[in-house]
Amino acid sequence: MTDASIQSGMSAARPASRRDIGLRKRYAAERRFRFYGAAAIAIGLIFLALLLWSVVSKGYTAFWQTELRLPITFSQQIVDPKNTGGKDERALTTANYPKLAQDAIAGVLGIDAGDRAALRDAQKLVSQGARTSLRDVVMGDLTAIGQTRDVWVPAASEVDSAVKGQFDLSVEESRRPINDRQLAWINELREKGLLQQRFNWGLITNGASSRAETAGVGVAIVGSFTMMMIVLVLSLPIGVAASIYLEEFAPKNRFTDFIEVNINNLAAVPSIVYGLLGLAVFVNWFGLPRSAALVGGLVLTLMTLPTIIIATRAALKAVPPSIRAAALGLGASKMQMVFHHVLPLAVPGILTGTIIGLAHALGETAPLLLIGMVAFVANYPTTPLDPSTALPVQIYMWANEAERAFVERTSGAIMILLVFLALMNLSAVLLRRRFERRW
């Protein structure tokens, strides 16, 4: 309502004797208050937008990876020197595939085998990660041995960064990771269509790698997912059960006060301390393996519990007493009252607490440090007891990498983490909407 309309409303047919209840001021206060509320939300959202923008603007390029299409000659000499016809898997997997790629690029660029400097420069265009791409071709189709095929292999991360314009080309050549000759080749290859930016599935599916172009968060996603599942499965029931006991059943005495204070206090414990705890209890005492998602999940569970308990208790407290009385009056036992009436009404609050707790757990690195999950893990874990990492860990480790190409990948990994988070939130929001009621 605008000021003007209030004015006219006040002047219209108003007896002079009408008492003054300070409407103008109160409406100003009302508008101010409302504005503050909207402003508060706006501040939150603006910061969110800023953060997201700062991440996305840096990270979206990570989802494209420069690749080279090279006519690879799978010479038997290199792939299967003992000529076992592909029976000796070990020989096949350990063959010197990068050499194939290097030969191919030299061929494409028409470099003379004697020009060693040029050869070295050319070889630097192709990623060492070509090994995996080429191996996959051979392992998938043994007939490729001895033939020439066009294969897409990742370009070196310097090429990738150069193509994406991340290097300042104005600085002198010697201080650039990529020299003028290589730049010229890149342009040449691009014109021939042999060099393209393609969607970087590897970022999502690969395990950790020291090479930016083949590094991915696959293992980390699996690890994070496993840990979140463990946290959810353990902390939600335990947290809710503990809250129910404390809020509904526990006698109000010193001891329960002590527990309450304790739980509040646990929420304030720095997360790394949970790492110390996890190391002492789960790894050293129970003898669970280091770097395992199970241990990580347990540690994060302990860390999340207080958040969930506090939120759940607040939600339980908010359920009106009349509902409780009604249930008890019908001969429901206290247990039935809680599980049939109080708990369902508290679900939205519980879900909020769970989202916040899980999100916290999802983004946490410090406690994982001490139980060995801040680690380089290249192989996918098959059980929760296998070594694995987590998304924030991967971000943390990439953020510390020197190579330029990891900068965008760090942001890319953050984007993946945020998507993960968004999916988690979305499911909770949907659930919450189902349970929300006003009364």
């Binding site: 939300i41 929420a267 609050g349 410090a366």
Partner: protein
């Protein structure tokens, strides 16, 4: 196996339910004695009796079995392989274990054949399957490994048998207890209640665990450094203690860290609480459902962004921004364009941390505000109060206990935060009251002292434990105080 067990017990429970029905039909005429509890409760009771002891046994058994196998293997170790003290070298034992695991990976026929082989024969078999064999493995280990494998599978079988028998016995016993007046529900509820208590004990155990995992090292620290200089020292300068330099060469004053912790947390709360609370009020009272259902989860995203992202945000965006702004302001005011806000400052850390904390306040408070009964709002509106008056004077006071606990949670989070502070306020431990300067917190130092090159049993590292336990004690006191305040001002509605 456990699944089978539960299925079994569930089946028994079902059976019992049926018989309970039958019993009621027979005994209870139209006005005969009523069954005390519903048949499902009787079923659940039987289920509990069957499952709980069996499960406990199973867990104990599973935990004990490897120990038994180990003991057995130890006993059969050839004397030649024992070490000087006549003990089994742990690594040889590990090799046996590994061999056992490797054997498990072989297909049954090959494994059967393995008992007749020597290691030399076995080597190629493993190699063909790509199973690496440790270099130190010796021939005498093979029979041991086979023996251990066998023993553990027998044990497992036996355990399964005993568990099933116990489950059945439990079920039978449960069945025998069932009578019309038997209080099955109360018993089941007792069990559920015990479970609930167990769950709330997890919190206590965590606390005990945390204290235990820090106490010894903290004591060790205080052997090097006097508590007095730690608690009352005003200089934090632990120095680097690497190889050889030994001894406590630095100063470990807690005060600057503590001051920084409280200062930064306070700034963060000063930003987060009003913003979050106002946002919550707006969402709960003004925004329509659709807006709220979009805005709330969006704000919650803020809580989930990894703190390192905030850290870099503070470092790269907010810090320089504030510094440049302050330079402008100083320039306009005094003509000297020297920034009075440093790139790293308490203000930056507090602000960015505050952003992260917004959803803690807003989401929790929103739920609590929404739960305030409508009739209270009607009462106030009906008296001619504006909405904001209603909110400020009726709704918020009614929601106060809940809001206070939300704020407490937020404060806790603020105190425990590390990464943001590292990047936004730095690691320099100083005492200052100027919010535009750098300061650091206890948690930052805990992390740093634990993860560096520092020698791990030097006071430089051990101080982390002392810091941890001190922080723990301080927040504990704060929480006790807060509980007292909440108790005193709690108001009940409805």
């Amino acid at each position: 196996m456990i699944i089978v067990l539960i299925g079994l017990a569930g089946w028994i429970a079902g059976a019992r339910r049926a018989s309970a029905f039958a019993g009621r039909e027979a005994v209870g005429g139209p006005r005969g004695p009523k069954l005390h509890s519903r048949a499902t409760y009787h079923g659940a009771f039987v289920f509990c009796l069957a499952v709980v002891p069996a499960l406990v046994l199973l867990l104990v058994g599973l935990a004990a079995a490897p120990g038994y196998v180990a003991a057995d293997v130890h006993n059969h170790f050839p004397a030649s392989a024992l070490d000087a003290d006549g003990k089994v070298p742990p690594l040889s034992y590990e090799l046996v274990n590994q061999l056992g695991r490797n054997l498990d990976l072989l297909p049954p026929d090959e494994r059967a054949a393995a008992s007749a082989m020597t290691l030399a024969d076995l080597g190629p078999v493993f190699q063909r399957r790509g199973i690496p064999l440790a270099g130190g493995t010796e021939d005498y280990m093979l029979p041991l490994a086979l023996r251990a494998d066998e023993l553990s599978s027998t044990l497992r079988l036996g355990l399964a048998g005993v568990t099933i028998v116990l489950a059945a016995a439990g079920a039978l016993f449960g069945l025998s207890r069932i009578a019309v007046r038997f209080r099955a529900r109360n018993n089941v509820e007792f069990i559920v209640r015990s479970l609930l208590i167990l769950c709330s004990l997890v919190a206590i155990l965590t606390t005990v665990g945390i204290i235990c995992s820090m106490l010894f090292e903290a004591i060790e620290f205080f052997r090097h450094v006097s508590p007095q200089s730690f608690f009352f020292g005003t200089v934090w300068d632990p120095r680097f203690a690497a190889a050889g330099s030994g001894g406590a060469s630095g100063q470990f004053g807690l005060i600057p860290l503590l001051a920084g912790t409280l200062y930064i947390a306070a700034v963060a709360m000063l930003f987060a609480v009003p913003t979050g609370l106002l946002a919550a009020v707006y969402m709960a009272e003004y925004a329509d459902r659709r807006v709220r259902s979009v805005v709330k989860p969006l704000l919650e995203v803020l809580a989930g962004i990894p703190t390192i992202v905030y850290g870099f945000f503070a470092l790269i965006t907010v810090g320089p921004f504030l510094r440049d702004i302050s330079a402008e302001i100083a320039g306009l005011a005094t003509g000297d364009y020297a920034p009075f806000i440093q790139g790293q400052s308490i203000l930056t850390a507090g602000l960015v941390m505050g952003v992260m904390l917004i959803p803690f306040v807003s989401s929790l408070s929103d739920d609590i505000i929404t739960a305030v009964p409508r009739s209270l709002r009607d009462g106030s509106l009906g008296l001619g109060a504006t909405r904001s008056e209603t909110i400020k004077k009726v709704v918020l006071p009614a929601a106060l206990p809940g809001i206070v606990s939300a704020i407490l949670l937020t404060a806790s989070r603020a105190i425990g935060e590390t990464m943001i502070v590292v990047l936004a306020a730095g690691v320099a431990a100083r005492l200052t009251i100027n919010p535009f300067e750098a300061m650091t917190t206890v948690t930052v130092k805990i992390v740093n002292q634990l993860t560096g090159d520092l020698e791990f049993n030097s006071p430089q590292t051990l101080v982390a434990f002392a810091l941890g336990i001190t922080l723990f004690a301080i927040t504990l006191l704060l929480n006790i105080f807060a509980l007292y305040i909440v108790r005193k001002y709690r108001e009940q509605y409805e």
